[in-house]
Amino acid sequence: MDLSSIKPALLLASLMIAATPVIYAAIGELVVERAGVLNLGVEGMMITGAICGFIAAVNTDSPMLGFMAAAVGGALLSLLFALLTQYALANQVASGLALTLFGLGVSSLLGQGYVGIKPPSTPKLDIPVLSDLPGIGTVLSAHDIMIYLGLLLVAAVWAVLKYTRIGLILRAVGENHDAAHALGYKVVRVRVLAIMFGGACAGLGGAYISLVRVPQWTEGMTAGVGWIALALVVFASWRAGRVLLGAWLFGGVTVLQLNLQAAGVAIPVEYLSMSPYLITIVVLVIMSSDKNKAPASLGKIFHASS
């Protein structure tokens, strides 16, 4: 066992990479839940995004087109969920589960001819000032553009929810859909748009796994990250800033256990790889004592006649 082989700076740099898929998926789901919709299909949308992005990137040789295709794929799949829950007024928990099962099936069907192929690599940005900073230079710099976009997205969601009219309407719909309806806001339309935004974000997160983090396509490769993203939204008490914190915590645990595996710690690999899931449970337990933060209309069906 050689723990000195673990370098803190490199560890933090790979933490940023490990946290990015969760950041995308969680911030998307946060918007969906703030609009009062519980979409448990994050895992399904992520894996669909992962394969859509992978196929597009391999065929066009452009990672950026890949990410775009992933966002579109995720949004299209989420549209199914929107149809079910907003127009057919189906139970959101059941519909979300259906979406995950369906997405897993769709993705492995689409990905049949793509096992074992390497995708085009996503270019790294070298930001002049950041990379020269002593110590944290290696942590913050020389990442691909998606990491920075992810951080920007979190900031944007935070600002929009807090300071803009759109954010206010979205929150009104999530807190009390009947009141929002009475004020003349289109509850269903707002929710469908929010669901599609969440789908696009989950798709991007999935594509980040298949194009950057792994980078390869294997069936079921998201391995529960979508569910962890759902847990993170609870952890974050539905606030954008805390999503970052949670995602880094999760990324840190993931990276640390991988490093411990590589360093040859005397614990079998299988037990180490349980740790991200166990930590998620522990964090959920700690955070759920802090209740009543959830949007008041979360998971409730809206129908104008009732």
């Binding site: 448990l40 199914l80 149809l83 079910l84 057919a88 007024l89 189906a90 139970n91 928990v93 059941a94 519909s95 589960l97 259906a98 099962l101 369906f102 997405g103 897993l104 099936g105 769709v106 993705s107 492995s108 069907l109 049949q112 069936e219 391995a223 529960g224 569910w227 962890i228 759902l230 847990a231 609870v234 079998p268 299988e270 037990y271 790889s273 349980m274 899931y277 166990l278 998620t280 449970i281 959920l284 337990v285 759920s288 004592s289 209740k291 129908h303 006649s305 009732s306």
Partner: protein
């Protein structure tokens, strides 16, 4: 203009018709999907739904039906109790694995014991294992208000890792020349969950599933506990006034579903599967969610839905080997069924009304 109007009472006819309609729509849309994949849709549908029962090699496939339906029904019955009460255990796959590990653990510990009481002990261990695994989300929910959906699902991944650790470590066959996987329980007389009638595919798991259907039916229709479960699901506030303790029901529902999933896992590992191996679990715990909904959360409905879903599994395998249909297509097919069911369900709760556009 078409307008939706909420029904005062959910329509019984529509509720019964919805699963049938959903299966039919899935056949049509699925057929379209298979046509897109370049297969003859009629042939695929016939292969999936007809050949396993009445085709040329049906004598070989028919026993498979009970082997696959058993665990699905067993798990789905447990899940349906919770779903009715609004308690969402979606980690049945994990409880299934732990049940199997506990059952196999008992058998392997006493190897090569030849005694009649070994198998009952394994049954007990399997049920207890699944129960204990389900108690984690149950107690966390009751004590801390933690979301049981997320916790039970996280535990699936933990259970999968544990299964891998067991297959490679403590439970590995000492005479297996270093290959991963345990001793084969099928060759271990007193631990083997053998077929009860040759060629029927019926083992103790099938019997237990049938018992579970009957017990669940009695519980839901004739017992105050079943009434309370339904009450909590449909009107939580009324349930509170009627003196129903939601915490106790949470523990009960999660416990029962965990124990049944554990039993299913134990019967599987000591029978059809035979071995603790990395790829032991094949997603019964997740498919059972579809079965529970397709069966309308009703015990008899679940019995039928479980048989139907088992049919798609077997038919899917035939279509895979004979017609080169990808395995994932069947998974998608099953997912679609749940989708359409949820969509068709709209008609049970709402009524379509034709209204003239008015100027208000």
């Amino acid at each position: 203009m078409l307008r939706l109007e909420k029904r005062a009472q959910p329509s019984k006819q529509w509720a019964a018709l919805a699963p049938v309609l959903a299966v039919l729509i899935t056949m049509v849309v699925g057929g379209g999907l298979f046509a897109l994949l370049g297969k003859n849709p009629f042939e695929v549908i016939r292969t999936i739904f007809w050949d396993p029962l009445f085709g040329e090699f049906a004598f070989y496939y028919r026993p498979q039906l009970l082997i696959k339906a058993g665990p699905l029904i067993l798990i789905a019955i447990g899940l349906s109790l919770g779903f009715r009460a609004g308690i969402w255990n979606i980690g049945a796959e994990g409880q299934y694995i732990i049940g199997a590990l506990c059952g196999a653990g008992v058998a392997l510990t006493f190897y090569p014991l030849d005694a009649w009481f070994l198998f009952p002990m394994m049954i007990l261990a399997g049920a207890l294992g699944g129960w204990a695994w389900a108690m984690i989300p149950a107690l966390l929910k009751v004590r801390f208000g933690t979301n049981e959906i997320l916790v039970s699902l996280m535990l699936v991944y933990v259970a999968e890792k544990l299964l891998a650790a067991m297959a490679l470590g403590p439970m590995r066959n000492p005479e297996g020349h270093g290959f991963p996987g345990s001793r084969n329980l099928q060759q271990y007389e007193s631990a083997h969950n053998a077929e009860l009638f040759t060629g029927s595919g019926l083992h103790w798991g099938g019997i237990t599933a049938l018992l579970a259907v009957i017990c669940a039916y009695i519980l839901l229709n004739r017992h105050i506990l079943g009434f309370n479960i339904r009450l909590l699901g449909q009107a939580p506030r009324a349930a509170r006034f009627a003196g129903v303790n939601p915490n106790r029901l949470t523990v009960f529902c999660l416990g029962i579903s965990g124990a049944l999933a554990g039993l299913a896992g134990m019967y599987e590992i000591s029978g059809p599967s035979g071995q603790v191996s990395i790829d032991f679990n094949v997603g019964y715990g997740f498919t059972a969610i579809i079965v529970a909904f397709l069966g309308r959360l009703h015990p008899v409905g679940i019995l039928l839905a479980g048989l139907l879903m088992a049919l798609t599994y077997i038919g899917g395998e035939i279509a895979q080997s004979n017609m080169n249909l990808p395995a994932a297509a069947i998974q998608m097919f099953q997912g679609m069924m749940l989708f359409f069911l949820l969509a068709v369900d709209l008609m049970a709760n709402y009524r379509l009304r034709l209204t003239r556009a008015e100027v208000s």
